[in-house]
Structures are given as structure tokens and as C-alpha cells.
């Protein structure tokens, strides 16, 4: 689907109850430096970016190391489409840096 805009992104990310059930199946989390390398972290960091938060190196690592493999989505009690959120965040980052990227 076409990447979500800020408000849709915030709405989706806002569904997160922070239960962490998604984390157990995430391939990147066990090898990452922190919770940002797992789906629970990524959902919150996409919301952080959508609110205009700083795209720090750690935040970027979180967003760009997602495999979009969607294992997490099957475990999410709130039914959040996490790969879609991540792509929306990437798209947002591209839009912000449009002139320099394309």
C-alpha cells in the first residue's frame, strides 16, 4: 500500500499497548544494541519520527534494520501492521531529506 502519512502513522502506532509480545519472534532484536532493534521499539520510534522527533543515528538504525518480515504482526494483540509502519517511517525520512536523496 502507498506509505501512510503522519496522521495515519500516529494512529496506527498509537494502538501499541507496549506488551512486547512481538519481540520474541523478531530476528533482529537479539543481535541489536537495544530495544529499538525490535518491533515494540520500532513502533514507538516511528511515532517519534511522525511527531517530528530527531532522526538520530540510533533511531535510523532502528528503522532501517527492520527486515519487514512481518513475524511480529502475527503476534501483535492490537493487530498493528508493523512493516507498513516502518515503511511509512522510511518514506517520511525520505520526504524530509528529499532534496539530498533523490
Amino acid at each position: 500500500m502507498a506509505a501512510w502519512g503522519r496522521s495515519r502513522l500516529l494512529e496506527e502506532a498509537g494502538k501499541c499497548a507496549y506488551c512486547g509480545f512481538c519481540e520474541a519472534v523478531c530476528p533482529t532484536l537479539p543481535y541489536g544494541r537495544h530495544r529499538g532493534y525490535g518491533p515494540r521499539g520500532r513502533v514507538l520510534l516511528t511515532a517519534h519520527l511522525a511527531r517530528g522527533g530527531k532522526a538520530s543515528p540510533e533511531v535510523l538504525s532502528s528503522i532501517y534494520t527492520c527486515l519487514t518480515c512481518a513475524a511480529c504482526t502475527l503476534k501483535c494483540p492490537a493487530g498493528i501492521d508493523i512493516p507498513a509502519l516502518v515503511r511509512a517511517a522510511r518514506s517520511l525520512l525520505v520526504a524530509v531529506h528529499e532534496k539530498t536523496i533523490i
Binding site: 534494520t65 527486515l67 502475527l74 536523496i101
Partner: protein
Amino acid sequence: MDVKLILSLLAENVERTGYPVPVDVERIYSWAKPLNLPRGGRAVLYTGALYQLAPYINSLVRHLESLEGRRAGGLALRLAKTLGKIIDLGKVVAKADPGEIKAVEEVLRSIARLLSAAGVEYGYLYEDDMYSGVILYDMGLDEAFARHAKMVAETLEKSGASLIITVDPHTTHVLRSVFPEYVDGFGLEVKNYLEILSENIDSLKPRRGEAGYRVVIHDPCFYARHEGIVEEPRQLLRFAGLEVEEPPRSGKMTYCCGGPVEAVSPSLSRRIAETRLRELQGVGGRIVTMCPICYVNLRRVGGKVEDIALHLSRRLL
């Protein structure tokens, strides 16, 4: 934003050449030459070039890996000065493993022959067999993707086909589930070759008298979770007389090979691939992949893996 470097590299390459890494265009369709497939038709085989590109992507990843160092999770290309080296992609392309190139071309020929054996009438696109643009979509390069997708869609529509046959999970997903969102009026039917073989299984005949062997199946995320292709490969492998074993994480709950982050973080990708490979090896049996990205990524960490099309063609052709 160091990741910008990779993104701009990919975007520039796709926009300039149509492919994420530079590749001789003839190499994309030369695999089909020995088969004398007709051009176009009601149904056309569209590879999306992902199998053909996989060895070159792998070569690029190996190069990035050497630059990145081995720290898990670090984003590749911390330093701007490395960009210059990467742009020298000619060297990267030249280093692609010839064995791997031969292998992926054989996979494509096997797929084509299997479709014919199953009585499917189809043609090929040859030089119009374009890259789908999936990497642009994955990386959130929405506008670049939309432009590229429009071009691909126009080319496919121009071919006059009404059914597009895809051969890998990423191209299948992007064409079937993503194109309709990005390309106005995109209405071509998209089917994966495993689905088509499964529908026409009665037309296929297993070779008699040959002993079967054990295979361990590695489901690609995009088949299993995004496109619902789980049963078809199992049905086909069993039909071919093979004993299908499941790893601990399989089907809808399959575990990613790590491939999608290979360019952004080769070391992270490597560790995930190693984990998955150990799991697959632990089951015992020949490891079956169905995706060129899984294939090269599991191979990069020393996996002996083989594409499903090769297993099927040995037993069904």
C-alpha cells in the same frame, strides 16, 4: 544520515539503469535463449530480474561487509569516503560469483520447463523483463518507486498479456499486492509459478523408480506471511516424491534469512542468516529455498542450499 548514501545510490541506479546494481541488460534475459520461448502471449513469465540480480547483490554485500567491519547492528557506510569505493560498482559486478550466476540461470530455466511440462501456455518478455523496483518500495523511496512501477506496469500492459507469472516472493508481493496501490488502473492478474504448478499438478508426472530424499523447507517471509503461499511448495515437493521436513520455525511463523537488511547492515544480516542456517541444518535433509535473496544470504554464511525449482525439475521433468 549515513543511510542516505545507500538510498541515494540505489535510487540513482534504478532511475538511471532500471536496476539497483549495474548489470549488463542482456544478462537479465540471456538465460532464456536455449529455451526458444515465444515472445509475449496471453500469459507471460515475468522474473522481475531478482534471481538474475542476486549474485551481483551478493557481491555488493560482500564488499559492503568488508567495509563495515564486524560489529553487529552498525549501519554500513559510516564514512562518506567509502561512498566513492562503492560507486565503483563495475568492480563489484565483475566479482560476482560465476557459479552463482550459472545456478540462478538454471533455476529460471527449470521454472520455465516445469511450467511447460504442466501444460501452461506462456511467453516471455525478454528485454522487457524489467526489475520490479521492490527495493525502492522497501526503503520508503515512494516517489521513485511509483515512477518505476508505472513504467513496469506500462511495459507489462503493452505486452498484451492478461496474466503475469512471477517466480520469486518479493516480485510476487510487490506486483500483486503493492502495484495496485501505486499504479492507477493496474488490473493485470498476477500468479506465482508455484501456485500455477499446484493448480496443474495433474499434468505433471513424477519420475518413476527414483528414490526420494529428505528436504528441509525454508519458507520465505513474503510467500508465507504476505502472499499466503505455504501449502503449494509442500504439495509439489511431496508430489515429486520427496520427504518434507519442517524446521522449528516454519510456515506462517517462518524465520527470516536476514536478507532484506544485507545492504544496510551486512553483519546483522549475517548473524540472522547464521542462526537460521543452524536451525535448518539441525533438522537434517537438503535445504530448500524458494527465494533468490534467501539463497544468496544463506550461501554467504556457508549454507549448502538449493532452490525448489531444481529439486522439482530433477524429479518431475
